[in-house]
Symmetry: C2
Subunit: 221 residues, 2 copies
DNA sequence: GATATCTAGATTGTCGACAATTTATCAGTT
DNA sequence: AACTGATAAATTGTCGACAATCTAGATATC
């Protein structure tokens, strides 16, 4: 699935995208130091474009920088994960509420059909719900909010960090099949233009997956 | 009042802070183009530090950049303002909920005394509630959430854009005195460790001020 | 042996110059 | 007069070099 396409026009863009992917996927491990000269030889670009890429990663909360010292990939902690899900709960809850107000009927219909199409798949191997489908669902609702700042904030900022946690804690992906039913209920609320309910359901949905991850985390210890 | 101090260690920091202030205060008007050479001569630094400063402003959603074209200060629109307040409602509502869970008693007591101290002031010139007081209140609750990512997001990202709207639409600034009572109710909920109520009250509080601004906006037309 | 100070190495911050791209100007054609 | 195309000016993107800062190791002192 093409989640949302970002086209790299400048060399700095390409470097940023690639670096981000390597960090999210764990090729560059959490906590690692990002040496500017090292990366500039690796990617065969000047330090200027590396610096710009690192700056953008910092804006995503994927790396942390200290002046005159350097940049490190963030370390993944249980607290950090909970913090992230609290933010997602607030923002995506609001996105669902706004989607109920602003999402065009056509988009709602598309989203609804998407879920219908996945129904068979869910029933067959009736345990899991593919991660891609989950992502697509959340993204469509975010876009449906029609709040451009919210869309940018979630797509550029939150999303990649959230994925980094999921990938590196081995929860790509997906959660038990009940997630599918939760999605259906949310869409129904949006379709009924019931923003209040849509927000409540979305927040619960995110709380459940947070709890699911928290359980896995404690098991890993 | 010292809202929260950022200390500029590097030349790029200083440029970023100053540029941000000039934009927020309107010295550099909304929609203006940011020429790199022009700014580098004005601030007497190289283009590299200007570029870095502009990158950071972009991360705050204060300027927009297009590759190979340049950066412009964002234009202030009614839609943009509403979008911003929707985000604030979601995030600061969550902050209030978390503050009810996590804020240390000492900090709650401080916040409470702060409000008590302002009571006389409010009664005397019984119309307005100083902007500084309002900022301080919101900031303390955000910090009280103890969610580091939320704190960063609001302090570095949302806050400056919100202030830019208030300054340039002439609503520094304060809203009618009822805001003071709303603040008191929120603190009471936090003090009672009632996160659910604290969130509801904070969201209402922000909705009210949004409506207040929306009214002023329509009057200006 | 522990602490403090100094020096050398490495890393980041800043600069000016060149390359690539966009925008403006102007001539030419229909 | 309006549109197209080529050329020139201006702006952004990228580069390598130098300056400022931090880090590590060695030496000296108590």
């Amino acid at each position: 699935m093409v989640f949302f396409q970002e086209q790299a026009v400048t060399s700095s863009d390409k470097t940023y995208f690639q670096l981000r992917e390597e960090i999210v996927e764990g090729l560059i491990p959490a906590g690692a130091k990002l040496s500017e000269v090292e990366l500039s030889t690796k990617f065969e670009v000047s330090r200027a474009v590396i610096r710009e890429a690192i700056n953008r990663l910092e804006a995503c909360n994927i790396v942390e920088r200290k002046a005159n010292v350097g940049a490190r990939v963030v370390t993944l902690t249980e607290d950090g994960l909970l913090e992230l899900y609290q933010i997602r709960e607030a923002l995506e809850g609001m996105a669902a509420r706004l989607a109920a107000q602003n999402m065009p009927e056509a988009e709602i219909y598309e989203l609804s059909s998407l879920l219908e199409g996945q129904q068979d798949e869910v029933r067959q191997n009736h345990t899991y719900y593919q991660e891609a489908g989950d992502l697509d669902f959340h993204y469509r609702i975010i876009v449906g909010s029609k709040n451009q700042q919210l869309i940018t904030m979630l797509s550029n900022g939150i999303y990649h960090l959230a994925r980094m946690y999921r990938v590196q804690l081995g929860m790509t992906g997906p959660r038990v099949t009940t997630a599918y039913d939760e999605h259906k209920h949310i869409v129904r609320a949006i379709s009924n233009r019931d923003g209040e309910l849509a927000e409540i359901l979305m927040r619960r949905h995110i709380q459940y997956s947070k709890n699911n991850i928290a359980v896995k985390l404690t098991k890993m210890k």
